[in-house]
Symmetry: C2
Subunit: 461 residues, 2 copies
């Protein structure tokens, strides 16, 4: 019999990474691992769903990194379609229900990992649950959406996407590829509200150019259905948008009702609060990671909720190491995110103008346009780089990039510079890779750093 039992709640990125990593450090004779997943899939790439819907990824199972059977072969007792309903922290046990039989069982734990993820925001609007209205959070959601698309026939069909964040723009691309006439309704002035509006405008223009209609300042009030009960149109305060299919991409919230009921500490965004080893604050034997936690923003010192597979995988690795007797920490994030809509790449890291203001930071900014390769090469793609630096100190605060090929991943330069707390003047001297097919002689990030340095100086003391 194993000396200890680890229970994992949630069978996707964070949970199963934690389980797998813990298993690397401790064999089944030392550590029994039980994982509960209430859905039909484990260890899959939710971020890949838009590319499956859009047809780039042929098969649903291509998005599955490791099957339940593979987990079980590695000594992880992964129980699918089993929903954790209660955590008893005092008695160290979890009550879980087998969704097929309906029976509940208590399982004792020595160590617990909470990786319950996030749930998409689904406003309680009339008609929101009508057939043809889809979220894209789980593989099941993706499958249901693809079935609707197959039914409504693609070419000539009308699709409405509600929300113009990462999921919204990626789904707009996917639906465009499937032959739909696509309208994106969003509440803010510009799409991609994770960018400043001046940069969001570039995304807006790119979507226009692709034939995607974007409607800003649009508050959806209800969803109309036809005689067959299926979605027929989306209604806002100002207009009605006919729709054969509706995709919701409004954002997600941490899924922490279970943790809250157990008295575990939640942050201002509703996510679990952990220490740097990803241990739930105040609880020696409980860890949490992935989309259900809040993470430290290294620039503001406050916590944020960022649902991203890359963070979830890091959390899982770190939790697994700590549970397994090794040591790892997650120091925090700078808020890097990349996306694209067709050939237009979108990236951001650090603080937007409004984030800087909210953090009490005075800043200057500069925006430049350059090409991703030497301008004399055919097909050189334009990109716009906006950079923010703290007034006086010149410390880099954030970078946003919108442009053609090579734009998005350039943000990594800024992500590392933010982590290292570089000034924009220090950045002007960065020894970045240069050759004509990869960069102009002044990389766009260097050009932005130079212009921002000049703005810092001009703002003076």
């Amino acid at each position: 019999m194993a000396a200890e039992r680890l229970v994992v709640i949630g069978g996707d990125a964070a949970g199963m990474s934690a389980a797998s990593q813990a298993r690397r450090f401790k064999g089944p004779e030392e550590l029994e691992i039980v994982a509960f997943e209430r859905g039909d899939f484990a260890s899959y790439s939710a971020c890949g769903i838009p590319y499956w819907v859009g047809g780039d990824v042929a098969e649903r199972d291509d998005l599955i990194a490791r099957t339940p059977r593979e987990h079980r072969e590695r000594g992880i007792d992964l129980r699918m379609r089993t929903e954790a309903l209660e955590i008893d922290t005092a008695a160290r046990r979890v009550r879980a229900r087998d969704l097929d039989t309906g029976s509940d069982t208590w399982t004792d734990f020595d160590k617990l990992v909470i990786a319950t993820g996030a749930r998409p925001i689904r406003p309680p609007l009339p008609g929101i649950d009508a057939p043809g209205v889809h979220g894209v959070q789980t593989l099941g959601d993706g499958q249901a959406l693809i079935e609707t698309l197959t039914r409504t026939g693609g070419n000539g069909g009308r699709a409405v996407v509600v929300g113009a964040g990462y999921i919204g723009v990626e789904m707009a691309e996917a639906l465009l590829k499937r032959g739909y006439e696509v309208t994106v309704l969003h509440r803010d002035e510009q799409p991609m509200a994770t960018l400043d509006p001046d940069m969001g405008r570039l995304v807006h223009e790119a979507m226009d150019g692709l034939g995607i209609t974007t409607v800003g300042g649009a508050a959806v009030t209800k969803i109309l259905t036809g005689d067959d009960g299926r979605v027929r149109a989306v209604v806002t305060e100002d207009a009605e948008y006919p729709a054969d299919v509706v995709v919701l991409g409004i954002g997600v919230r941490p899924q922490t009702a279970l943790a809250e009921a157990a008295g575990l500490p939640l942050g201002p965004h509703g996510g679990l609060l952990t220490d740097q080893s990803m241990r739930v604050r105040g609880h020696e034997n409980i860890w949490a990671g992935g989309d259900c936690v809040e993470v430290l923003d290294l620039l503001t010192g406050t916590t944020r909720h960022i649902a991203l597979g890359t963070h979830a995988n890091k959390h899982g690795q770190i939790i697994g190491a700590n549970v397994g007797g090794d040591y790892g920490t997650f120091p925090g994030v700078v808020g890097t995110a990349v996306s694209k809509v067709c050939d237009r790449e979108i990236a951001r890291t650090g603080l937007r103008e409004k984030d800087a203001r909210a953090a009490g930071l005075q800043y200057v900014s500069a925006t430049i346009e350059s090409t991703g390769t030497a301008g004399y090469l055919p097909g050189a793609q334009l990109m716009t780089v906006k950079m923010l630096a703290e007034r006086r100190t010149g410390r880099l605060l954030g970078v946003q990039i919108v442009g053609g090929e090579g734009a998005a991943k350039r943000v990594d330069i800024a992500a590392v510079a933010l982590t290292a707390r570089m000034t924009v003047e220090q950045m002007t001297a960065l020894d970045l890779g240069y050759a004509p097919p990869f960069s102009p002689v002044w990389d766009p990030v260097l050009v932005a750093a130079r212009k921002t340095t000049a703005a810092v100086r001009k703002a003076g003391w």
Copy 2:
């Protein structure tokens, strides 16, 4: 009359950037600027020559960033085909020859910028000066090579490239595109000796796959000519390689005979030595930049000679600022370079194994293979990342990458991390951009950092 006169020797990247930047700070009434360029072209991209030869760039003039006339319109007295022959530091004057009239003139200066560039290594072999043997340093060289290619007719022709560094592999690609059967002769075990041999081998394999023959350990002994006096073959110690055209890409040396004759300080690689403001050591009023100087290697504390347009442009900007009464410094380099041969991207930054050894640093290394995008997307490209870290401290020492699309510029992540003196363990937590079209959920650089961290630990104390 201007209060001061600035004389610039060399009209390419560093020299004309310095002149232009100085002009931004001081108008013609304050600062007279005279620049000598012995060639027929100024302010051009030598790095673009392979892409012009290969046909990507249509016109020679596309490579010219600013014409002599444009410089003159901005109040810079740029004298083309005028060669500086002597610097009299005591009397603060330069003797220059008008190459068309043959007349020499002394020009007084208050401030001097030396930007004489580098000259290609051209070993004194029999036949090296035969028609059909080409360097690719200047636009004139490129023009001459293109004339030879036009004459020898392309398809079915045989080209031999001597040297397999950046220029060598880029020219191999260009000649392949022109329809030549290409052989690359190089002295080292593997091509791209700026990489460790295990990574160079990947370049070798890629070139093989492209149909480029590479011959390592090949020391060229002579060049044979035909009855018409034109090149006919390249001879090594072991074999003879028929050639309709030969391109020399053996490397370059700082062009500092003029500076040396004037008693200015040269470093171990023959380049001028400057302080961080790019002022020639010990000379209050003389600056130097670009391919004729040595730069500080931030990792070893020694100086290196690196001929790269991106450094030359930075030097020019800094010199221009300092000459113009502003302030700028060039702190040094980490040794980043990127290149490609057809669709195979090549990048390096920091120290190779032999550099680390030469610097007295003990190190560990790890090599990983991953994809540039999510592995489930069609066309996901493999890349190999090798990472070196100092033993015990785990400080990043260097990264080399060879792979498909998205490989080369990923090295920038490491370039910034090197500049910030990060450890590989710190790098494992970097918040890099993730979305399926841009990266697997673990970016290859993160995977390499994790594996190198494990190697650091395993090596112990």
